[in-house]
Structures are given as structure tokens and as C-alpha cells.
């Protein structure tokens, strides 16, 4: 991920140690100087997000990474980035919570990430990689989207992917970064300008909010990503993201071998969420099973998408427990037998 970020033109990394994502900072500390960039181990997550803000407002590609408790501390800054329309990439390698929790893989920060997370009416683009390769690929995407929409982008990974070792293909370094005619670099030969989020006039604040909302609608229209796996003839659709989807895929594969018509739908953008696509799937299939490593968060989005047009069953494991594909296959299989085989009889 760290190398992918450097290749995506990121030259500023600011972070604070927290497991399970220290490898990112360690890599950056070694390789950022080679790339002519800056690595700073900040005094806190709060300081690091504002260092990102300070670098970003000058037009640079900047990022930070952390894990759940640290991300909570960064939320104020993410709200400011969104309010001031500044690009930034934030990696959250989620761990078990609430509180200090543990350092196992968990998906408990779905709500925080997809609902904005900090204060105010805003959205963060949220990308959920399902493998190390995809984490690498989405890193480049994250920097592109952040610049394109001038909005913070969060990569929501979990401890499982954070601790996985897999061979990856790295992208070519980007050659041209976008021009940023809004950046603060000193008022040489032009009027001075500023970047702010304080707008005391309520009408102007409302206007600014609608402007942000129009941007968010545009993102919803253009940037939804998902993966469909064996859905054509599926009678039961499993919906899962990130590493849970990886385990679910293994389970689906196994069940297919046994002749069960199950498929997997994996949202890659958690915000914008593929509501429409899920609603369409309900035209063909009336049984959904949401599987998450939490107590049911994406579940709400799936239910919203379906709005009662199909049955939704939930299987979740909070706290860092990671079931095997065999465990998950058992759950999916028994649901399948209950709802589909029995009906068929």
C-alpha cells in the first residue's frame, strides 16, 4: 500500500503508531526520503491529520494511516477536509472495538466511515479492498478520486488484510499530477486567497452545503464499484465486503460444488453504496444473506436498498473473530436449505 501510494505521487505521509498498520509508516519512513518526499511521525493522530491538511492545501498529495481508535481522533480533521474541499487519503486498518478493543481483523467502523464519521453533513468516499492486490490498486484510485472531487477518501481495510502477505503487481509511477489552481502557495502575481470552513452567514453556509451535496450526488452517479461473483442463476445472494467477502467467496465456491445456487455481491465502494444494483438483484432473487465482521452495519444499507423487496438474513461476528470459509459455508448452506430447498418441496 505504501509503495503504491508513493507511486501514486504521494509525497507526504504523516502518522502515529498503532497496530495493525505500523508497516505502512515504517515503509514510508524508509522510502519516502528516496522519493524526495516527507515522512513525519507526528505527536498524535490529531496532529497528523492536520499535517495532511496543511500539505494538501498547498496542492500536494498527502496521506495518513491509522487503525480504529486513531481514526476516531482524525474525524474532526476529516470533517474539516470535507468542508474545505481538500483532497486526502486516509487508510483505516480496522481492529476490534469499541474502545481499545484488540488488534484482530474487524469491520466495526463501517458506520463511522460511510456516514461521514465526523460532524456535519458530508461524505467520505470509502473504498474497501478484498485483497492485498486490490489494496494496492485502490490506493491509486483513492488519490485520483480525492483530487478529482477535492474530497477525503478513506480506504477501509481490516486487520486481516493488514497482516496478510501476498505477492502483488505494483502500478507504474504516475507521471502527471493534476493542476490545482486553488492551492495556497503564496500570492505571487495574483490576488491572495484563503481556505476556510467557517461561514457565519447561514444562507452562504447553506449554499456551501448544497454545493457539497451536488458533488456527493455526482460521486454517487459516477463512482460506484462492486464485484459480482456467480450471481447469474443465484437463488441466494451473499453480500459481504473486504476480507469477509474473501471468506464468503471461499464459502460460495464450496457450496457451488455441492450444487447450491449461491452467489456473492461485494461492494467495493461502501460510500457511494451500490444501492441500485442490489435493488436490481432483488428482481431475480428474493433471498439475501449479509455477512460482516461486526454486529450488522452494512446490513442497514442492504435493507435500505431492498426496502422490503427481499428477505435478508444476517450473520455477523464482531470483536475480531474470523470464521473459516467452512463455518460461513455452513451458515449459508443451512439458510439455503431452510428458505429455498424447503420452499421447492
Amino acid at each position: 500500500m505504501a509503495e503504491a501510494a508513493i507511486r501514486a505521487g504521494c509525497r507526504f505521509y504523516f502518522g502515529y503508531p498503532i497496530t495493525p498498520q505500523n508497516e505502512v509508516a515504517e515503509y514510508m519512513s524508509e522510502h519516502m526520503p528516496e522519493a524526495g518526499g516527507t515522512f513525519i511521525q507526528a505527536e498524535s493522530e490529531i496532529a497528523s491529520i492536520y499535517m495532511v491538511l496543511g500539505a494538501s492545501v498547498t496542492g500536494a498529495r498527502a496521506m495518513t494511516s491509522s487503525s480504529s481508535p486513531g481514526i476516531s481522533l482524525k474525524q474532526e480533521g476529516i470533517s474539516f477536509l470535507a468542508g474545505q474541499e481538500l483532497p486526502a487519503v486516509i487508510l483505516n486498518v480496522m481492529r476490534g472495538g469499541p474502545g481499545l478493543g484488540n488488534i484482530a481483523g474487524c469491520q466495526g467502523d463501517y458506520f463511522q466511515a460511510t456516514r461521514g464519521g465526523g460532524h456535519g453533513d458530508y461524505k467520505t468516499i470509502v473504498l474497501a479492498p478484498g485483497s492485498v492486490q486490490e489494496l494496492v490498486d485502490l490506493t491509486g484510485v483513492a488519490f485520483e478520486l480525492a483530487d478529482k472531487y477535492r474530497n477525503p477518501v478513506m480506504i477501509l481495510a481490516d486487520g486481516l488484510i493488514g497482516q496478510m502477505r501476498e505477492p502483488v503487481v505494483l502500478p507504474e509511477p504516475v507521471k502527471h499530477l493534476p493542476e490545482k489552481d486553488w492551492a495556497l502557495r503564496g500570492a505571487k502575481g495574483r490576488p491572495s486567497r484563503f481556505s476556510r470552513s467557517l461561514i457565519l452567514n447561514v444562507r452562504r453556509m447553506e449554499e456551501h452545503n448544497w454545493k457539497l451535496q451536488r458533488k456527493f450526488r455526482e460521486i454517487e452517479a459516477n463512482e460506484i464499484r462492486f464485484e459480482q461473483y456467480l450471481l447469474e442463476d443465484a437463488k441466494l445472494v451473499v453480500v459481504a465486503f473486504g476480507s469477509a467477502a474473501r471468506v464468503a467467496k471461499g464459502a460460495v465456491k464450496r457450496l457451488r460444488k455441492e450444487g447450491l445456487k449461491v452467489g456473492l455481491f461485494r461492494p467495493i465502494t461502501l460510500w457511494p453504496f451500490p444501492h441500485k444494483k442490489i435493488r436490481e438483484l432483488a428482481n431475480e432473487c428474493s433471498e439475501f444473506l449479509v455477512y460482516e465482521l461486526n454486529a450488522g452495519q452494512m446490513l442497514e444499507d442492504v435493507k435500505l436498498a431492498l426496502s422490503g423487496s427481499a428477505e435478508v438474513f444476517f450473520y455477523g461476528r464482531p470483536g475480531g473473530v474470523i470464521p473459516t470459509p467452512m463455518d460461513v459455508a455452513k451458515i449459508i448452506g443451512s439458510r439455503y436449505y431452510q428458505r429455498i430447498k424447503r420452499k421447492a418441496k
Partner: protein
């Protein structure tokens, strides 16, 4: 008797180029406006307006960009020094200055200023100490004097409950990364002139790459002190200066790596 025409009036001290010509929104007798002017003068003195980027803090000074004709980032409450760090690293050839109140720098932003100073970020920090939270209506700040009544110390600040007023300049002067640390006031012409020099020097140490330049300026807040402007000025002299002595606490002549 000669019949010379009367001389054209001459402005002895014209408005600095960097100070935008617009009516001040500060309360009558507030010192923020004077301090803005001194910062603008320092920027003009070095001819660095076009390559300066300011970082405003949250407090009465938040509208810094309305007065300073440089690029300005409005940083969140307390985070100016961290944002300035990101900026400094991303724009190494620019001049970065922050302008922060005492609630901003000495309470919520203590961690950020101490660590920016300790890293020796080559930035200039102007710290306006008016011994209370101006913008939010005059609550206690870490700098509030013992016995001082504020809206959250209605019986006066009591060290047993609230601790002691913090002397940020002395504290920061102990850090290796700080090149220059000084305290001034603008309550009378002599102090104002001295503070002008201090702010200039705080920019100079940045320009020379020596380290962080820090100037604390004691500032009147007549509105929240509940005093008339002239009485507020008197309070600076009689109450603030005895506890917060004016002067230079550190002045490094060259950078450590030189």
C-alpha cells in the same frame, strides 16, 4: 517673512502593503488589530508578501484572511502548528506564519505547538495572550491570572482548582528547536516599537532557517475583561506585565546544522 506654502502633509507611518484596507471588526480597544499591523509590517520589511502563507487559528483572529493580503489557511481550533508543519514541508521555499490566541495555542493546541517547536519547524508563531477566551465570551484560559474573574471563574481563578497561569514563552524557550522566543506588548508606544522588532526577528530566524520563531504579545480584551479600553491598557501594564515579563528569552544566532 517668507511666504512658503504649507508643506504637504506626510504620512510618517503609512498602512503596510500587506494589511488590507478595510474597517476592523474587532471591539474598540482590542489589540488584535495592532498586532495584525505589526505582522504585516514585518512581512513588508522582508518583502515576502508574495511567498508568505498565514495560518489563522480559531478565536477572534479567525478572520486573519480579511486583513492580511497573503494566502491564508484557517486552521481548526488548536491545530495551526500542525497544519503549518504540513505546509512548511510541502512548500519549503515559502514563509509560513501562524497567528494564534491563548485558548488556541496554550490549551487545545498545546501538544501541536510543543511538538512543532521541538521539531524546529522553521515557522513564525505569533501568540496573542489576552488571558481569556475572547471569541466564546470570556471564559478562563490557561493564561488567566490568579484571581481574575471570567465567565467560568466567577469567583476568580483559584490555583487549587484551576492551576496556575501558564507562561508559554518561557516553556517553549527550553526547547532546542526554538530559535527565538520573546514576549512583547502593545499597550504603549515604547512596547509597540519593541514588539515590532521582536516580530521581525521571529520572521528572520525562519528566513535564515535557524528554527521556530515565537513571539507572545500581551493583548487587551476590553470587552471580555469588562473594562474601558484605557483601563484595559492599564491592566496590561499593572497586572499582565508583572506576571508575564517582557523580553527575549532565547535568540539563537545560527542553525544547529550550520
Amino acid at each position: 517673512m517668507s511666504q512658503d506654502k504649507p508643506k504637504e502633509p506626510r504620512l510618517i507611518n503609512p498602512r503596510p502593503r500587506t494589511l488590507i484596507d478595510r474597517p476592523s471588526h474587532f471591539c474598540p480597544g482590542c489589540h488584535h488589530g495592532l498586532i495584525h499591523r505589526l505582522v504585516a509590517e514585518a512581512i513588508d520589511y522582508f518583502g515576502i508578501r508574495e511567498r508568505s502563507i498565514g495560518v489563522a487559528s480559531v478565536g477572534c483572529s479567525v478572520f486573519l484572511y480579511d486583513f492580511m493580503d497573503t494566502d491564508v489557511l484557517e486552521a481548526p481550533h488548536g491545530r495551526a502548528a500542525a497544519a503549518a508543519t504540513g505546509m512548511r514541508r510541502a512548500q519549503p521555499d515559502k514563509v509560513v506564519y501562524t497567528y494564534q490566541g491563548d485558548g488556541d495555542l496554550a490549551a487545545i493546541g498545546t501538544s501541536e505547538i510543543i511538538h512543532a517547536a521541538n521539531r524546529g519547524e522553521t515557522i513564525t508563531v505569533v501568540f496573542v495572550n489576552n488571558t481569556n477566551y475572547g471569541m466564546t465570551g470570556g471564559q478562563m484560559a490557561p493564561t488567566t491570572l490568579l484571581g481574575q474573574k471570567t465567565t467560568t471563574t466567577p469567583y476568580g481563578r483559584d490555583f487549587k482548582r484551576d492551576g496556575y497561569p501558564i507562561r508559554m514563552t518561557e516553556l517553549l524557550a527550553t526547547l532546542e528547536g526554538v530559535a527565538f522566543a520573546a514576549r512583547g506588548a502593545v499597550n504603549k508606544p515604547a512596547n509597540l516599537r519593541r514588539t515590532r522588532e521582536l516580530i521581525r526577528r521571529a520572521f528572520e530566524v525562519q528566513l535564515k532557517g535557524i528554527g521556530l520563531g515565537f513571539v507572545e504579545v500581551l493583548s487587551a480584551c476590553p470587552t471580555d475583561w469588562g473594562l474601558k479600553p484605557l483601563d484595559a491598557i492599564k491592566r496590561v501594564e499593572e497586572e499582565l506585565i508583572p506576571y508575564y515579563p517582557l523580553g527575549i528569552f532565547k535568540d539563537k544566532k545560527e542553525a544547529d546544522h550550520l
